[in-house]
């Protein structure tokens, strides 16, 4: 399967040139660009690990692409996403977020159901990869 979180998951994986153009778009808007990674892509996993702090003061896409390359060197077997953060009043949140790196194999999720009264079901979504400890989840790849 293919995790379709983020802004561009339905397109073919972005090239570095395409990623740099999106980063430049964020910088031109005055947003802070942030790089995060995880090996647990559960849809409710909000807090991916940060590759350093959001780059509030970096104004050059090339610098961010270098950080991304470094992050890929260490965590190339995990999901990596790039986001743009807008601190202006009334927003103060993420403005764009997209995946720039994925594991080669994406095992996806298991949906568990437990039956309750009145035909109600309780649902739980399990990431197959998260069955193993953090850091070993995509180790076979």
């Amino acid at each position: 399967m293919r995790v379709t979180q983020g802004c561009f998951s339905f397109l073919p994986d972005l090239t570095d040139e395409q990623i740099a153009a999106q980063v430049q778009y964020c910088l031109d808007k005055g947003w802070a660009v942030n790089i995060e990674f995880t090996d647990d892509p559960h849809p409710r996993n909000t807090y991916w690990d940060m590759w350093g702090l959001p780059m509030f003061d970096l104004r050059d896409a090339a610098g961010i692409m270098k950080e991304l390359a470094d992050c890929r060197r260490v965590y190339g077997d995990r999901y990596i996403r790039v986001s743009g953060f807008d601190s202006s009043p009334g927003w103060e949140s993420v403005r764009i977020s997209f995946i720039v790196n994925r594991p080669r194999e994406e095992p996806g999720f298991r949906l568990d159901r437990s039956e309750a009264a009145g035909r109600n079901l309780r649902y739980a979504t399990h990431s197959y990869a998260a069955g193993r400890p953090e850091g070993e989840r995509y180790a076979d790849q």
Binding site: M1, F10, T46, I96, F98
Partner: protein, 487 residues
């Protein structure tokens, strides 16, 4: 008409028994300067033949505040001058002989805090049936900050909705399940699953899906939540379906909303026809229960569409932002339903901005400060398809739900393919826009290019490429670029 002086009768003579013209009773005060705390309404007044326009406008002020048809001495037991609404400006409507824009100021104390029902009972109460008028339309309102702050506002708001859904940087995609009537719960859930798995963020009940013989509401809720959870697991993405909880009584609506909540839905839906009080109750319920609240504007065209009579949708949008819904259908411009581009832009700004400057070209007659009230997500729905993606993004921007009902479910290779086509078209357009391309003009090219790696998009473009709805709008703003003379 040259009536720039107040002609209000004062003192003892004002309260002599009998009938007196409204403009002499204190409802026409051309020198009045509205206070920052006044509610201001702008009406389009079309008097009956032979009725003096100033008198007609003063009568609107009177009948929407303290007046009755004759002088009453009991006014003297009150601070009557404060409670009288004051018409302070009358302009002829450009290019519309016989109609006048009346600006009327109301003291804040005329209204109960935080109640749309109370506000509307005055402003659009008896006055709309007043015989000396041929027609009357409420065009716009200025809501003072002091009043705005008495309302909850959108239960969730655009920013928090995006955070909860983990979706940023692009319009959200939805579809209304079709056919709107007749599907069983089991079949209905199938449509939801296919559309969500194919790439949509939301599916939606239609306005008239409540609890009918072919599908009772519990069946729909149970099958829909199975579909949502399955689609979430299949994609790793948060999904939702607007479960319509509209029902005959508040008790029924609460019961349905509670059930949706218990099943883990992140959004419920109501129809505008349930009324302002019910809408505010559901907004409070939604805030208490971390639920996004979708409003379908069923019924609005009965009073918003004609330029001469009724209430402009821009006013309904303002009331709904105060009332506290999170989504509102606000037009598509290019789709099958009414929507002049400039007027629609005005509605979208009212939903999404923290401050609306006066902008006559967009039909916005007043500066409006929203005082940090949450933003309301507009929804574009009705006769739109993937081939229009560049126009939709250009006209409606990024914070909008684009709902392709027929444009998803009518895809020749099925619902999933339809959903995928829409999502790919959207992502390709956002990518191109952010890269700085002239996506409005290059739109068709960008779509064709994206279709090279996406067969469903190619098929969608083939089927719907020539579908447009180009009809004259019935509700466009009347304005002249320079301020008109007061009469």
């Amino acid at each position: 008409m040259n009536m720039q002086q107040s002609i209000t009768v004062r003192g003892k003579d004002r309260y002599k028994s009998g009938v007196m013209e409204y403009k002499r009773m204190g409802y026409w005060e051309p020198n009045y300067e509205p206070k920052d705390t006044d509610v201001i309404a702008l009406f389009r007044v079309t008097p009956q033949d032979g009725v003096d326009p100033t008198e007609a406008c003063a009568a609107v002020a009177g009948e929407s505040s303290t007046a009755t048809w004759t002088v009453v001495w009991t006014d003297r037991l009150t601070a009557a001058e404060k409670y009288r609404a004051k018409c302070y400006r009358v302009d002829p409507v450009p290019n519309s002989p016989g109609s006048y824009f009346a600006y009327i100021a109301y003291d804040l104390d005329l209204f109960e805090p935080g109640s749309i029902s109370n506000l509307t009972a005055s402003i659009i109460g008896n006055v709309f049936g007043f015989k000396p008028l041929k027609a009357l339309r409420l065009e716009d309102m200025r809501l003072p900050t002091a009043y705005v702050k008495t309302f909850q506002g959108p239960a969730t708001g655009i920013v928090v909705e995006r955070e909860r859904l983990d979706k940023f940087g692009r319009p959200l995609l939805g579809a209304t399940v079709k056919p709107k009537l007749g599907l069983s719960g089991r079949n209905y859930g199938r449509v939801v699953y296919e559309a969500l798995k194919g790439g949509l963020d939301f599916t939606k009940d239609d306005e008239n899906i409540n609890s009918q013989p072919f599908m009772h509401w519990r069946e729909r809720f149970l099958y829909c939540m199975e579909a949502v959870n399955r689609a979430q697991a299949a994609t790793g993405e948060i999904k939702g379906t607007y479960l319509n909880v509209t029902a005959a009584t508040m008790e029924d609506m609460y019961e349905r909303a509670e059930f949706a909540h218990e099943l883990g839905s992140n959004i419920v839906m109501i129809d505008l026809v349930i009324g302002y009080t019910a809408i505010q109750s559901m907004a409070k319920w939604a805030r208490r229960n971390n639920m996004i609240l979708h409003l379908h504007r069923a019924g609005h065209s009965t009073y918003t569409r004609q330029r001469s009579h009724g209430v402009s949708f821009r006013v309904i949008a303002k009331w709904m932002r105060l009332a506290g819904v999170d989504h509102i259908h606000a037009g598509t411009v290019v789709g099958k339903l009414e929507g002049d581009p400039n007027t629609t832009r005005g509605y979208y700004d009212i939903c999404r901005e923290d401050f609306n400057p006066l902008h006559l070209e967009h039909g916005v007659f007043f500066d409006q400060n929203w005082a940090s009230l949450n933003k309301l997500m507009p929804v574009a729905s009705g006769g739109i398809h993937a081939g229009q993606m560049h126009q939709l993004l250009d006209l409606l921007g990024e914070d909008v739900v684009l709902q392709f009902g027929g444009g998803t479910i009518g895809h020749p290779r099925g619902i999933q393919a339809g959903a995928t086509a829409n999502r790919v078209a959207l992502e390709a357009m956002i990518l191109a826009r952010n890269e700085g391309r002239d996506y409005v003009h290059e739109g068709p090219e960008i779509l064709v290019k994206a279709a090279q790696t996406c067969t469903p998009l190619r098929e969608a473009l083939d089927v719907w490429k020539d579908v447009t709805f180009n009809y004259e709008s019935t509700d466009a703003p009347d304005f002249v670029p320079t301020p008109s003379m007061a009469v």
